[in-house]
């Protein structure tokens, strides 16, 4: 694996290898000095063309925990940065010594293109509505730590699926690892053609919520045109929001996940967001470990068994 651009095509053994590595790195993060010298001298460059402090910080934390240096680029509001092309930015960072790039961009395929131009390992930190592979990894890791394995788990992903890269990556990772996935959204927010996708779809949450082991809530996003997919926010909340009534419908051992940041009062009622049945903070913590696993795997040659 030279790049991590998409979860599509990552095999089950490859996924499990990354999850096993994530376990080890979580142990490292638990130590008094949560740092190892593994990537000392290496430089990780983050190119974030979309506002996202959390994911960028998570990658930077992961890089530093491996003793790598970090070069972080995000175009500000200055007109100077507007002129420089994606390609030029990538080549500039490479010239500055980057050994690996993490790319987040509002357009699909940006990370793919950077991988061709820069000829360096590239991690897709989220491209348009297409893929967010490290999110899928940390989510799968979280589920594996909580349930022991994903085989047989029933996962419902709820929200603006059509415009969600998290949904696309998660459903592929979860189903590869043996879970059953249902996408839940109003018809205007489901992808247009899901023929052959390894999942079911549902247009009402109430009908499926009692059978789920995992309720994965997506943020309703206005940045990617999601608001136009349903009539109004109150209507969405009424049909798909995780409120007290729906919370009571959950199985006793069902858990709640969210990629963050949460819209309290929209996809999740404010007090439920803090309930112990949510794995949201675990996801954040596990995210650093999972990203360490990815950086480790990509910056050292493939293991040969």
């Amino acid at each position: 694996m030279r790049h991590l651009l998409t979860i599509e095509g990552v095999t089950r053994p490859e996924l499990e290898d990354l999850l096993d590595l994530s376990d080890e790195f979580l142990n490292v993060l638990d130590r008094d000095i949560p740092k190892v010298p593994t990537l000392l001298g290496a430089t990780v460059a983050t190119m974030f063309f979309e506002p996202s402090t959390r994911t960028r910080l998570s990658f930077e934390r992961a890089a530093r925990a491996l003793s790598a240096d970090v070069l972080s680029f995000s175009p500000g509001t200055s007109s100077v940065t507007k002129g420089e092309s994606l390609k030029d930015t990538a080549l500039t960072l490479k010239a500055m010594g980057a050994d690996l790039m993490v790319v987040r961009h509002p357009a699909t395929g940006a990370a793919h293109r950077v991988s061709r131009w820069a000829d360096l390992p590239v991690v897709n930190g989220g491209d348009g509505a297409h893929q967010h592979p490290t999110q899928a990894l940390l989510d799968a890791f979280t589920l594996r730590r909580h349930f022991g394995k994903l085989d047989g788990l029933r996962v419902g992903i709820v929200g603006d699926i059509r415009h969600s890269r998290v949904a696309r990556s998660d459903l592929q990772a979860f189903s590869t690892l043996g879970a059953t996935v249902t996408l839940v959204a109003p018809p205007t927010l489901l992808p247009l053609d899901t023929t052959g996708w390894p999942c079911d779809t549902a247009t009402e949450l109430d009908g499926v919520i009692g059978d789920l082991d995992v309720v994965y809530l997506l943020r309703i996003q206005s940045e990617r045109g999601g608001v136009s997919g349903f009539t109004s926010l109150p209507e969405y909340v009424r049909r798909f929001g995780l409120d007290d009534r729906r919370f009571r419908l959950l199985r006793d051992d069902a858990v709640i996940m969210h990629p963050g940041p949460m819209n309290r009062g929209v996809e999740i009622a404010p007090h439920i967001a803090d309930h112990p049945r949510t794995l949201i903070l675990d996801q954040v913590r596990n995210g650093v470990a999972a990203r360490m696993a990815v950086l480790f795997r990509l910056m050292t040659p493939e293991a040969r068994r």
């Binding site: 080890e24 008094d32 740092k35 010298p37 593994t38 050292t300 493939e302 040969r304």
Partner: protein, 179 residues
């Protein structure tokens, strides 16, 4: 590889026993001792030493396992092995940690193990027990307990096989670069 092993399974068993006795003798007992096996084959040896001590001394010495994959100085120059578990059942602060490995060669593995161990805590003392010392040190590292001194030429290969890992037990020497 030589057809005959330079150490048979019985030779190894006796060496392990002797090392176990030496450790206990030097430390006048087992208080404060922790055995830390280095993955992969150092781990079963550490367990074997621990079992021997339990047998003749009647006390249980904690045994941990250490993976040095994150501390190697040659990452990028060879394919990285799978990361194994690093897990030591006690806090090593102020304890006497005895690192255990199968073969001592250049000393770089031990150097990495020392770094890894110090990231887990500040041991009072660190010692080194190896089954085979084949010479050719590249760093100033010396073992405290040795099963067998085995002078080799740099081109030779020393292969340690352990039942739990390989299905059979013994130490062989052969031609061709390697461990």
């Amino acid at each position: 590889m030589t057809a005959e092993p330079v150490m048979t399974s019985d030779d190894i068993r006796r060496a392990v026993h002797r090392i176990a006795h030496e450790i206990v003798e030097r430390h006048h007992g087992t208080a404060g001792l922790v055995l830390v096996g280095i993955h992969t084959r150092g781990v079963p040896f550490a367990r074997a030493i621990g079992a021997a001590i339990a047998d003749f001394e009647g006390t249980t010495v904690p045994v941990g396992e250490l993976d040095i994959g994150l501390y190697r100085d040659d990452l990028g120059r060879r394919s990285s092995p799978r990361l194994e578990r690093t897990s030591i059942p006690v806090d090593i602060t102020d304890q006497t940690a005895v690192l255990v490995d199968d073969v001592l060669f250049t000393g770089r593995t031990i150097r990495a193990a020392l770094d890894a161990l110090s990231d887990l805590g500040r041991a009072g003392q660190i010692e080194l027990a190896v089954l085979v010392d084949r010479g050719h040190r590249q760093l100033p590292i010396r073992p405290d307990y040795v099963g067998k001194n085995l002078p080799t030429s740099i081109e030779q290969r020393v292969s340690v096989r352990i039942d739990e890992v390989d299905g059979h037990t013994g130490v062989w020497v052969g031609e061709g670069k390697g461990q």
